[in-house]
Symmetry: C2
Subunit: 347 residues, 2 copies
């Protein structure tokens, strides 16, 4: 099937996907019968271009990488706003990769709803709309017979939503637990080797894993957001930020770690949620001393991992990379392949 | 979509799937819009029944479980052979779960080809045909616009083929390594705790993990079969049994294990294959001392695990249960859901 794509936002993730699409064009056509052209890009800072016949993406990437604005690109139509791009272009898939605002979900929320009303599919790595009202968005998408793909919003490099939806299809998933934050796992790994918390944090900051203000990671807030999203999407239970008990790793000492070692255990920051017998959900982000026999105990460095508890297969764990520019871009490709599978007529 | 199913063979795996289908009927209809009736069963020993309007499976399971033959069931048509069942009934999906013969692939091979010629989908846990000529079968299926699902042939409880095909779609998979045999992993886990090889094997036999003649497991033959299948199916490279270098775990001593412990490592029997730069494949089953930082090192007991090496996401590992009656039955359900996804018209 052939799709016409439009980017709303064109930062690192959008550029990452563009590169992957350029490199894999032939493979996607051959293996998945998936063909595409990129017809429009609208970015608040870089500007906006549209060509209904498709843009030359090598040229676009060159312009953007040399720090130029998109109006250097020779197309007839320029300067469309994001909403105009969604409404007035011939794109049938909108790639929403603007900045994230988890409080309001905007402007992504409006972009996505507008696309659905126009009968256009949306793929997005934007956490905001998913946190804000994923169930409502999925309903609107269904009503309009379009697809809403957001594989990249949790564990961008490890396709856990797809795993739950496709590979574990037919199971009832009653809960999950996981290492949802690479930065804290990196810090704990260094502490296992004897480094102090402070030194390990400094090292994580040097490597770009942790921000200058590391609160979001080390206090478990980032992991908490992922617990909320996974609970809403995979467990199909509505919970909010305040429903998750939370404790970070700042109080874990090298002594605690050595003590755990003696017991044959290892500290990990675990995000988890479990459906209770009354249908409610218990969710938390908390440091846990895992026995080494737990698949999550062996997951070190800035790696992510998630165990789903299923009725048919018992615990199933996936271990994969955390978020990166290319990995997050790639998560959008997974959604694109899903749209192609779902909306191509196989018969 | 509504499917009419016929079982060719009705042993533990077929019965396992039937139970799951009965229990999950409502969920499958609601969540996947997947409806079905089981119209025919043909088993060499238990006999054969057909009712174009659908059999009462609770009654069938009751008859079989009390050791009776299927002719106790009140249907008009009885005694159809497997080929007649495939050709003459109104079934549109054939569930091939007869016994496995890896040398000839028969009788499953003939069943599957006949079904394809009749324009019927096949789902099967039968290793024989996959080992024998999976690529040819996939081609015939494609020509006839039908589906050949065989998720259950490797790591029955852990849907690795589906993972490669769907969740990791868009990646080039250049190789894999895994703990493909639960029995040997169980033995190595006990030896880690100080048990001798002989005692650990005895314990595995008591628990039903290992056969009276344990050669297939401990010499790595079972794992080798899985390496061949995964190489053919996931890496898309044709190799045979003789192309895989093999060594089992019988020579590993408690001393070796203690030595590895001192080095911060753990012995595992690893099945692996890697596409080389000249396009050839290096495949083997061999005991490997893994560093504890490897996700596979933490996989203990009779659990299976597989790491795929991908171009976009790097190594991605899945950890899940080994084969069991219910798990293997369930693998057929995954294939069934895939057929429903692929052949339902979403628009």
């Amino acid at each position: 099937m052939h799709f016409k794509l439009a980017f709303i936002g064109f930062g690192t993730v959008g550029q990452g996907l563009s590169e992957i699409l350029l490199e894999k064009k032939e493979m996607l056509a051959k293996k998945y019968d998936l063909e595409f052209s990129i017809v429009a890009i609208s970015d608040m800072i870089k500007g906006s271009v549209y060509d209904k016949k498709g843009l030359d993406m090598s040229k676009i990437l060159e312009i953007v990488k040399t720090g130029n604005k998109l109006d250097k690109y020779p197309s007839d139509v320029k300067g469309l706003s994001s909403i105009e791009t969604i409404k007035q272009t011939n794109a049938d898939i909108i790639i929403e990769v603007t900045y994230t605002d988890v409080k309001t979900g905007e402007p992504a929320l409006t972009h996505i709803k507008t696309a659905f009303q126009m009968g256009k599919h949306v793929i997005s790595t934007n956490k905001g709309p998913v946190v804000k009202e994923v169930k409502k968005l999925l309903e609107i998408a269904k009503t309009n017979n379009v697809y809403y793909g957001f594989e990249g919003v949790v564990l961008a490099g490890t396709p856990v939503i797809n795993l739950a939806e496709y590979t574990l299809a037919g199971n009832n998933i009653r809960g999950f637990k996981g290492i949802l934050n690479g930065t804290t796992n990196y810090i704990l790994t260094r502490m296992e080797e004897g480094m102090s918390y402070g030194d390990a944090l400094k090292k994580a900051q040097e490597l770009g894993y942790a921000e200058a203000d590391p609160t979001g990671d080390v206090e478990g807030l980032d992991a908490l957001g992922k617990v909320v999203i996974l609970t809403n999407v995979v467990l199909d239970k509505k919970i909010g930020w305040k429903d998750v008990k939370r404790k970070g790793i700042t109080e874990i000492s090298v002594d605690d770690i050595n003590q755990a070692k003696k017991e044959g255990k290892r500290w990990k920051l675990i995000g988890s949620a479990q459906i209770q017998s009354d249908g409610s959900v218990k969710a938390k982000v908390w440091p846990v001393k895992l026995p080494l026999s737990d698949p999550l105990a062996g997951v070190n460095e800035a790696i992510n991992a998630l165990t789903f508890f299923t009725d048919e297969l018992g615990p199933v764990t996936i271990v994969g990379p955390g978020a990166g520019r290319r990995e997050t871009g790639f998560s959008l490709l997974i959604d694109l392949i899903n749209i192609n599978r779902k909306f191509s007529n196989s018969k």
